[in-house]
Subunit: 499 residues, 2 copies
């Protein structure tokens, strides 16, 4: 069975057995079964669901089997949620049943010193040729297939009785999340759900006795839903293989890695956390570069880059134009662009002429600044934004535009119109357009989310917008280096066409 | 009249005249008058409000005077919103009336090339000894006195008819905002309102013919509401004076500056924007250091530092402990701490012993990691957080704690309890405690805001939390350098006592 086939059984099985379904509402064995049952009832799943619990006949109205061996049908995926010491026995039964893919949620293995028990699991898996995610993991979430092993309570109750969503799931999207840390993986899902960013696949593989970052990368390479892969890693065991796999992936889709344990303090913490011997950071740096991997240096950067890479085409070069109605925000963006190694490019003569013409015609105020950054000032209107963005994108010297939209001014009476008009212009060229706003008011939040409906990634500060753009420039440079930029851009499609 | 007295007339006048009240709803002259009238009716203001418009008898039910000279009472502050060319005449009248403080909102001066007109304004102001904020400025906002010259529409209408708050005002707070850029200043207010962070004073002085960053600093030094001063600057005209004033301020309260135009591209943009000749960035760097000013390197950093400095005491040193229930987030925090020049300190023997005792008693899981970062793992409970935070804060080697609270786990059934218990412990010592969460779900947003009710500043990523803590360490180091740390800490009071 190829890695792709094996992982397809995990993310997209035809039949699933949860082994260790519980009656207690807070227990993982209950939460997982209930969540997938809910998906089933809402017709969000395509698989058959079975439950195993030898002590109970029925849970949530569903018949419980006393062993997986009693299930009449073939099982593609077993999700194991029994106490650690029972895992070997259960895994043996999976093997006998012919199951070839399991997710072991159960904790209590090497992470608490039970190395022997983990070895035993490994042996049984090898004997039966079972691919294992886990143990001690958060497991997988796939909003397309309905697979969901995330076992944490979905809501938290306040004293007032009000329930708050606590562990939300992002909608269907184009971004795959791979996290060596379960808690961090969940927190990332929480962030994405809150921001309205969709996910294609999620996996956190815990102690990784078998399935690791290499397998996952290989699988995601061919996953059609996944347009960009975001990884949180503390270490990579098989360095050479990882780079090799990465090279085969990054010519098809971008991979962004947040590699923690970069510093001495961080590396020490990583050893305590995942037993990861982090190694010298420069080695990772070089390896990532060879693999075509984009490196993020903070959690925010990882997620910000993901959105940009999922929604916008890679940039042909690092020449950036900045369009703003607030001078200060433009200065900040220009600073950050230079700090990120981008060029706040001198605009073409013809562009300057076009702007001057608009000034003469009285369409632009005479005091608008039409060098780069282009500052429409507080007198800006929606129409000025639209026209200026078009002029900038047509300029051959401009590879990408940072669109700073401070919506407060009277010349932007309708947020919806500003977004629709500029988004339409942005799609006339295969050049990235990244949006920056600042603020936390209803109007700003609406503006950001509305831009993202049109897949213009939108950020709450000029600096974050520029850094996200940097990822598109880095990826474009890589594609040029390996000689496939033109082909890649030709084949690049708008996100909405991918759903 | 001292600078303090003059600016007190601007922020806290007994009587105000708006010159150029308009009947058109979108016009600044309408918005300003209406907003202050609303404040008056809601009893949020303490001053008398007069309107001047020679063409209309009454606006919003209030009598209009045809000139400020017709007003019977003394006027502390005139807010001028007439067309640029009328400003000199109006200012003359203010002088004749004995007004000594004006805010000129009107645009159309040096920023559009009308240098002559600006000179004229300067001359008249000098002749009458009038202190001027502006022209071409957003002006001032003071939630304590009710003064508010922010003239942008308060809401934006969607097609559905729904109105979204677009230019919100933050509540009363402890942070003063000084912005050379009006649009950016407004965006900062927007951000603060959205995040629920209060403001003490806001000023954006536009073309600064008179009142500049030095005057404002001098005033804010003695403003009791202001605990920390955040500034956005593109240039400083009187460098030596600025440093001198800053030195007198920073021994009383922290000043954080985001100085834009750091790079060549940014400096060029700044020249276009405010005519600011930015100068070599290293010069600013050295000057800020001499003035005891903390430098922020991004908008997010500026605002994040502001919250930390307003809510928490300065740190005695750079030795940090990290407390987490997610290993990955702990590793990320440790990385960032080291990158920021902080020390992820080796905990004292007695601390380790205390933790070991708790393990033996079965209070902490044996697999919890009790070196620094302390990782309570997914088995953490509210009680473990409380006890561990207490132990860490008692450790003499620990100057500050980063509390990473990923609330998803079942051991934290009540967010409210977690916050209340840890916040109580945090206040047992005058050591900074900074909270980090990750995510965008209802529960995370609630957790963050609830922590801030107890004035524990709370950030959406470990990196941002650590960077905010860095500001407290930097300020602490400065206070030690000038020999007043002990005194400062003794006099330091909980934010809630300052309202």
């Amino acid at each position: 069975m190829s890695t792709f086939e094996a992982l397809e059984k995990i993310f997209n099985p035809r039949s699933v057995a949860v082994i260790g379904v519980s009656r207690e509402e807070e227990k993982p064995g209950y939460v997982i079964f209930r969540n997938m049952l809910t998906n089933l009832k809402a017709r969000r799943t395509r698989f058959k669901l079975f439950g195993v619990n030898p002590f109970v006949k029925e849970i949530l109205g569903v018949k419980m089997y006393s062993s997986i061996l009693d299930i009449e049908e073939d099982i593609d995926l077993a999700i194991i949620v029994v106490p650690a010491k029972v895992v070997p026995k259960v895994l043996e039964e999976c093997g006998a049943k012919g199951v070839r893919a399991v997710v072991i949620i159960s904790a209590g293995f090497s992470e608490v010193g039970n190395v022997e028990l983990e070895r035993m699991v490994e042996k049984i898996a090898t004997k039966y040729n079972i691919r294992v995610v886990g143990p001690n993991c958060l497991g997988v979430y796939d909003p397309y297939s309905g697979i969901d092993t995330i076992f944490l309570p979905f809501t938290k109750k306040l004293r007032s009785g009000k329930e708050l969503i606590s562990a939300p799931r992002p909608d269907r999207g184009l971004i795959a999340i791979v996290s060596q840390s379960g808690a961090l993986g969940l927190a990332i899902l929480d962030y994405m759900a809150g921001e309205g960013i969709g996910v294609s696949k999620f996996i956190s593989y815990g102690n990784k006795v078998d399935v690791d970052e290499c397998d996952v990368l290989e699988y995601l390479k061919d996953d059609e839903r996944t347009r960009v892969i975001l990884m949180y890693l503390e270490n990579v065991k098989k360095g050479r293989k990882f780079i090799e796999v990465a090279r085969s992936v990054t010519v098809k889709k971008p991979v962004v890695v947040l590699k923690a344990g970069r510093t001495e303090a961080g590396a020490k913490a990583a050893v305590s956390h995942t037993g990861a011997l982090a190694g010298v950071d420069e080695v990772y740096d070089a390896a990532f570069r060879r693999g075509g991997i984009i490196r993020a240096y903070s959690l925010e950067e990882l997620l910000d880059a993901g959105k940009a890479l999922a929604y916008q085409p890679p940039a042909k070069g690092g020449c950036v134009a900045i369009l703003t109605d607030g001078g200060g925000a433009g200065v900040i963006a220009a600073d950050e662009a230079e700090l990120q190694g981008l060029e706040v490019v001198k605009l073409s003569e013809s562009t300057i002429e076009e702007f001057n013409k608009l000034k003469k015609e009285g369409f632009l105020p005479t005091f608008a600044i039409t060098t780069n950054p282009v500052d429409l000032t507080g007198s800006a209107t929606t129409q000025m934004y639209e026209a200026s963005l078009r002029i900038l994108l047509r300029d051959e010297k401009v590879d990408a535009v940072v669109l700073i939209a401070l919506h407060h001014i009277p010349g932007i009476p309708s947020i919806e119109e500003l977004v629709e008009r500029t988004a339409r212009v942005a799609k006339e060229h295969k050049k990235p357009v990244i949006v920056a706003t600042i603020g936390g008011s209803e109007a700003v939040l609406y503006l950001r989310k509305y831009y993202e409906k049109f897949y213009l990634p939108s950020y709450p500060s000029p600096e974050r917008a520029v850094r996200a753009l940097k990822a598109l420039v880095t990826y474009g440079a890589y594609l040029k280096r390996v000689g496939i930029m033109e082909k890649y851009l030709q084949e690049w499609r708008e996100p909405r066409e991918l759903f």
